[in-house]
């Protein structure tokens, strides 16, 4: 006997109490809003633009201006620079383009948790998570040498850790699946690989009750965290904390959308989940700042940012037309010059590296695609990606991706060496 999630959800709503919502209230408030919109629309061109933005906010509930909202006037939405399409990719071949080092198959992720490859450490080991499993939700973490297959398990931390922040040669930093109650902070744990000790990191002076977006390790041994700055989830106040000093908490006095750090460069967009107009780069050593307009489409919602040593990668959703999604991965250099844009229905950045880009596609041309900046190769490395949200990562010439297993009920993760 098992508990089926779909059945339990249905059972949960079998006995609703009477609904006291009155349709007259809905109609009355709706009419007032329509009148306000019409008034705004009559107030000239500038006001009309505001009206459109207002409607978009209303429609999207503050999440985003819906790119598929036909009320938004068509403006320049074309990608700039070179465009790569999924159709243009050549099928990759094992042996010619890559060799498989190791794999991890979980056949029944629809029924139980499994063992996952969660990224590479700085010395080329695979960080492995096993579980949670059993009555006590036991989770194990380990390091796998992909060359030899040797797997060593770490001492078990006291809480379930989920999100790797930094997998270093000497230290692992991970965020807890749920921040401890009452803690002012994102719930970070540090593992010292030399002493094999876990340590909980806390910064009591971080603002209480904040919602965190992104936790990135900087070159100055500080963690940079975004704290929701408004109710819309589109901008965040940037704070930083010293890894080894719980009293060292700094308000960076910077509002960001999405952000990332590569080397000494802190990179951020002006907003998230909306069209962006500015990308800013700050050198964390000199505090010099530069910004540029990446010329993303005017109806492209900013979804994710990844910074690499030489390029900035922006993931965008630019609308749906005739049921075809216009998803883009836009790559620019640090001067704001376009490098390329991958455009395709259902395309999503899987992982951006210094010399490559791994793209997952869930649309009509599914699978994982690999672009190599050094050779210009554009390869379709798999014809499907699994339905599970597994982490992709790269280290040196190693790369991971994942495919379905057991008829989509599970997933297989691959570690390959690119040729």
């Amino acid at each position: 006997m098992v508990n089926d999630l779909r059945r339990l959800l249905r059972d949960s709503v079998t006995a609703p109490p009477p609904d006291r919502m009155r349709m007259t209230d809905v109609l009355g408030t709706g009419k007032r809003k329509v009148r306000r919109r019409r008034t705004a629309a009559l107030a000239g061109v500038a006001a009309a633009v505001i009206g459109i933005v207002g409607l978009a906010g209303l429609v999207g509930g503050g999440m985003s201006p819906r790119p598929d909202d036909s009320s938004v006037a068509d403006r320049s939405n074309d990608p700039v620079g070179r465009v790569l399409r999924l159709d243009d990719a050549e099928a990759a071949k094992e042996g010619r383009d890559y060799d498989v080092l190791t794999t991890q198959t979980n056949a029944h992720l629809d029924q139980e948790n499994g063992q996952y490859f969660d990224g590479f450490t700085d010395d080329g080991l695979v960080f492995v998570q096993d579980g949670p499993r059993g009555k006590d939700s036991r989770v194990r973490y380990g390091l796998l040498d992909p060359e030899t297959g040797i797997r060593s398990w770490l001492p078990t931390p006291p809480v379930h850790l989920e999100q790797p922040i930094h997998l270093g040669r000497y230290r692992l930093l991970l965020r807890a699946a749920a921040a401890p109650a009452g803690e002012n902070g994102p719930g970070v744990w540090s593992y010292d690989r030399r002493t094999r000790q876990w340590r909980h990191l806390e910064w009591p002076d971080l603002p209480a009750g904040a919602e965190y977006s992104g936790t990135v390790l900087g070159p100055d041994n500080r963690l940079y965290v975004g704290l929701a700055s408004g109710s819309d989830g589109e901008t965040f106040d940037l704070w930083s904390v010293a890894i080894d000093d719980p009293a060292d908490v700094r308000d960076e006095k910077t509002e960001v959308g999405d952000f990332d750090i590569a080397g000494t460069r802190l990179v951020w967009t002006d907003v998230s989940s909306r069209p962006i107009s500015k990308v800013t780069v700050r050198d964390l050593e000199t505090d010099e700042e530069d910004s540029f307009d990446p010329q993303s489409g005017d109806r492209c919602n900013q979804l994710e940012l990844q910074a690499t040593a030489t390029r900035i990668v922006l993931t965008e959703h630019c609308g749906t037309k005739d049921r075809v999604r216009d998803d883009r991965i836009q790559v620019v250099d640090y001067d704001g010059e376009p490098v390329l844009t991958v455009r395709g229905d259902g395309s999503d950045i899987a992982q951006a590296g210094d010399d490559r880009l791994l793209v997952d596609s869930y649309g009509p041309k599914p699978g994982s695609y690999l672009y190599r900046f050094d050779t210009g190769d554009w390869l379709r490395v798999t014809e499907e990606t699994s339905r599970y949200g597994l982490i992709n990562d790269a280290w040196a010439d190693l790369q991971t991706w994942h495919t379905p297993a057991n008829g989509w009920r599970g997933a297989k993760q691959w570690v390959v060496r690119l040729k």
Binding site: D4, L5, L8, A15, M23
Partner: protein, 174 residues
């Protein structure tokens, strides 16, 4: 009543029960669910002329209700849900056989961040596929997959902790 109002009212009368069920699973409180449905239906009303031209009224309404919930979740803590048993539960139905599992599910849903909860409800209650869920949430399909995976892992752990039979996901209904 104008013809547009009549057609909107008819649509709302048919859709409100289903929308309220979805909103309840998102927020865990029937009164707040009604508030989210009301807010969502107001958004539908504003867009009604265009919606009736282009179709997709129900999808739009669902998206509006989910947006209302996510907006509220951002403004409050996403964990701020009633901890007490729901006093409105209809006592005319024999819930004995399902109360442990549904109570655990409700408790487990409370533990999920708002967006993960939305993914679970849209995928497994509304039976939307990854693509449609991404449309509702205005995010990428990859995000839906990762959020859903994390949510399922947490839910399974909660069921294990409660010494209940394992939690599985049956195949999607035809």
């Amino acid at each position: 009543m104008k013809r547009d109002d009549e057609s909107f009212t008819e649509f709302a009368a048919v859709a409100r029960r289903g929308l309220r069920n979805t909103a309840y699973l998102l927020c865990g409180d029937w009164d707040r669910a009604s508030d989210f449905v009301q807010e969502g239906l107001i958004r539908v009303y504003v867009a009604w002329p265009r919606l009736t031209r282009n179709g997709g009224e129900h999808a739009y309404a669902r998206r509006a209700v989910v947006s209302a919930f996510l907006d509220a979740a951002r403004k409050r803590s996403s964990r701020e849900l009633p901890a007490e048993p729901d006093p409105h539960l209809n006592t005319g139905v024999d819930l004995a056989a399902i109360v442990a599992e549904t109570a655990t599910l409700k408790e487990a849903l409370r533990e999920l961040p708002a967006r993960q909860r939305a993914c679970v409800v849209l995928r497994y209650f509304e039976d939307l596929d990854v693509r449609a869920t991404a449309q509702v949430l205005g995010c990428s399909e990859g995000t839906v997959k990762s959020q859903t995976s994390r949510a399922l892992a947490t839910l399974r752990s909660m069921f294990d902790d409660a010494s209940l039979e394992e939690l599985v996901v049956s195949e999607r209904h035809a």
